[in-house]
Symmetry: C2
């Protein structure tokens, strides 16, 4: 009856508090150094180093050297998506870190999920695109329809001009606060940075919170209907 992939080692990897803190910090999408992550996790540099090694062996994170610094990131969307899934389950059990403080509310409104937008705004965006028939499902996953292309182009973005990568253009990611899908993948990433460039949203330092500007709110309302 032991069917399917082995989840024990993977879950055990995430299951240590220090490592979970490291992963959560990396969900901001920013590349962080080993010392920064050690501080985030609340452990010494030696301990963090050991954890980082394990996470890297488990292919959850990767690093690139820059001078004497080591910048760590999640290995990709897949990891972020699975972590959001775990957060979703944890949230239903009231395992919130802070008892629904004001910060928590801000997280629900809009936040960064690795490199794309999540929260209420992220789900609204995805739903709106879906409603106008922007997506089509193919054998290999989600793809953009002509309507989808138009929508993206209206935002001043050329889907074909995105940096090529083996990551899919569109991917759905389950939102832990909304329990619905939002858009991930290369397009999700591009849209978030576009919104930042336009000044519609801005990252709050040292957190995953995205603050929606007054102008952003107006624009989103008019675009997403």
């Amino acid at each position: 009856m032991k069917d399917g992939p082995n989840i024990a080692t993977l879950a055990a990897l995430i299951g240590d508090p220090a490592r979970a803190n490291i992963l959560t910090a990396l969900m901001s999408g920013k590349a962080l150094t080993a010392s920064e992550l050690a501080h985030e996790a609340g452990v010494t540099a030696q301990t963090a180093s050991s954890h980082l090694r394990k996470l890297e062996d488990g292919a959850l994170i990767a690093h690139r050297q820059q001078g004497r610094h080591r910048y760590f990131t999640l290995t990709g969307d897949e990891v972020a998506r699975a972590l959001e899934g775990l957060m979703g389950l944890a949230a239903t059990q009231g395992q919130l870190r802070t008892r629904t403080g004001p910060k928590d509310q801000e997280l629900r409104t809009a936040r960064v999920c690795y490199n794309h937008m999540a929260g209420e705004m992220g789900v609204r965006l995805y739903r709106s695109m879906q409603d106008r028939g922007a997506f089509r499902t193919t054998h290999s996953g989600l793809d953009l329809t002509p309507q989808g292309y138009d929508f993206v182009r209206d935002l001043g973005l050329n889907p074909d001009g995105l940096p090529p990568s083996r990551a899919p253009l569109c991917r759905e990611c389950l939102d832990w606060s909304m329990r619905q899908s939002h858009l991930a993948g290369r397009l999700g990433r591009a849209l978030l940075s576009r919104f930042e460039d336009l000044g519609w949203v801005a990252r709050v330092p040292d957190s995953r919170i995205l603050r929606v500007s007054r102008r952003g709110e107006k624009e989103f309302d008019s675009i997403l209907g």
Copy 2:
């Protein structure tokens, strides 16, 4: 930066091999006794008892007493969904338990995911329903459109006649083998048991595999297009 729900305790709960085996066994959707689960996990009854207690404290499983037996099940879709998510990530890292044996292929074709259908067939079903506009997203999640009602009724099922519960009617669940959504929720459950009644699919004992009958294949082909 420690934003969002606390995933460490949850992941640690899943991260023990014995407990992971228990949870995987329960993904079949069948209620299993403590001794059966002990056997699945490869530990003694005492050890299993301890694990079951922890899983229950963590609200991942629940039990109901029946005579001198204790039947355990997952607490709901949410749990199954998160576990499938973990399997998805584990699968991308080649953490397959068996090196793509024939059993693995059967799992990918069609399998039980707690109480609904997953795998290729599950994704095909969901995609087909989506293509004919069966779903509509509301503030509370996924809902059936009139077209959706028609589709379900054509299968001899009355969506309004389903046993009421606080679980949503429709819910999407991310498939670990297809990396796309399939249908969960009360409707997902009802559809699977309908397919079983019709003799289109049959559960393979002691596994999550769903075997599609010759007739089932034909029917699915004609219905799902």
